[in-house]
């Protein structure tokens, strides 16, 4: 079985970050994906990845969205389900 994928939503807790998390969570639930979905508000994680503009979406340690709220179809595309 392939290792479980990990999706992180990074942001210091402002409304845009919460909205991003909702969008990702919605897609994960709707598609019934087996992923680990985490919301991380720590500066350390953001800096470790070099993310400067929040909100950010990280899949398996790679920043795929930064500085804006992604649309559901974009999240699907990034997860390879479009």
């Amino acid at each position: 079985m392939p290792p479980q994928r990990k999706i992180e939503v990074l942001g210091p807790g402002c409304t845009r970050c919460k909205e991003t998390f909702r969008v990702v969570q919605h897609v994960v639930e709707q598609e019934g994906l087996d992923v680990e979905l985490v919301k991380d508000e720590s500066i350390e994680r953001m800096m470790a990845l070099g993310l400067l503009a929040t909100p950010g979406v990280v899949i398996d340690g790679k920043v795929v969205v930064s500085g804006r709220i992604p649309k559901a179809e974009e999240v699907r595309r990034l997860l390879g389900i479009a």
Partner: protein, 351 residues
């Protein structure tokens, strides 16, 4: 106009040609509508509603009916254009380009990037840390942090739409000047020890480069920007214009001149002081600013007030407290306030 375009794009698959065609149609319709606005406003106020010419009510109503669609149209067009432009810039890119730059040239570049880069107050902290840990001088980082929120396309559009290109250009120029000089001054003051110590310990990655975007992506970014910015701001614009319309129709001309006129030397500092605890987006403030100006308030005083409201934002100061010690925050506020004061006096003297 925007809803029509959005509904259409949901129904159709976003092929490249359709994207361009829709944009062109929307643009053409907007231009046509824009040129007929004055006539339409007059028609609606005097012919349709039957209001008497020259009365206060009709004056206010015509102002409102004319300005609301005009400003919203302009705003939509520019937000779209800037949204597309910004798809070329990210803070990560700005950071790469600024790393290792010296002062002076770094200050200028940082201020310019600040305009082009999208900025949200919540990004202030990670942005600050990312910049200083990449070796970007403190002063240069501040130039970026000052220009990013202050010189934004919403403010520029509204200024252009309501006062003409000269005022908009002056705001852009002086905003940049303040960002560059204030950042440079803060750099000279060598305040590095007032940054919270833990910031220097942070290990930061270099950041990934974004995947290559196609033009269809960029147009989508533009449309997303419209939904996000105009969608958030339009009500403030309408309310602001309504207040402006009320002032336009009902406050006697030159009422403001007595205490906001250029002869009252204390007007500029007062305006700056008033602006510090207030925080508003540009959209809400500018229509009010217009009415104040129309009633005799001096341009410098009013612009100083506007800059102070936008640039010296209390929420952002609170957020930055995480990474900056109070002494540095105080210095930052003082230097920027001084710059705004200077601009206010300059405008009053020159205009």
């Amino acid at each position: 106009m925007t809803t029509l375009a959005s509904t259409a794009t949901i129904a159709l698959r976003p092929t490249r040609r359709r994207g361009w065609a829709l944009t062109a149609v929307a643009f053409g319709t907007a231009v046509l509508f824009y040129t007929q606005l004055q006539r339409l406003a007059a028609f609606l106020t005097y012919d349709l509603a039957g209001l008497a010419r020259g009365s206060r009510l009709s004056s206010a109503v015509e102002f409102f009916v004319f300005e609301v669609p005009k400003v919203l149209l302009l705003l939509t067009a520019v937000v779209f254009a800037v949204g597309v432009l910004r798809s070329f810039f990210t803070p990560e890119r700005a950071r790469q380009l600024l790393a290792g730059r010296r002062e002076a040239s770094g200050n200028v570049l940082a201020a310019i990037f600040g305009i082009a880069t999208p900025f949200c107050s919540c990004s202030a902290v990670p942005l600050f840390i990312g910049f200083v840990t990449a070796g970007i001088p403190l002063g240069v980082t501040f130039s970026f942090l000052i220009s990013a929120p202050m010189v934004n396309e919403v403010a520029l559009v509204l200024l252009f739409g309501l006062f003409g290109w000269r005022v908009a250009a002056l705001y852009l120029g002086t905003g940049l000047a303040i960002a560059i000089v204030a950042g440079w001054v803060i750099g000279r003051l060598k305040l590095e020890r007032h940054v919270e110590p833990w910031v220097w310990q942070v290990q930061s990655g270099s950041g990934t480069t974004a995947a290559q975007k196609t033009w269809t992506d960029r147009l989508t970014d533009g449309r997303a920007a419209i939904r996000e910015i105009v969608g958030k701001v339009w009500l403030y614009v309408v309310i602001g214009i309504a207040v402006g319309a009320g002032i336009h129709g009902y406050v006697p001309t030159n009422f403001m001149a007595s205490f906001m006129g250029r002869d009252a030397w204390w007007a500029v500092p007062l305006a700056v002081l008033l602006g510090v605890p207030m925080y508003s987006n540009a959209a809400g403030i500018i229509p009010v600013v217009q009415a104040l100006l129309g009633k005799g308030a001096a341009l410098g005083t009013v612009l100083a007030f506007m800059m102070s409201v936008i640039a010296l934002s209390l929420p952002e100061m609170i957020i930055l407290r995480k990474v900056l010690r109070p002494a540095l925050i105080a210095t930052f506020v003082a230097v920027v306030a001084a710059g705004i004061l200077a601009v206010g006096y300059l405008f009053n003297a020159v205009m």
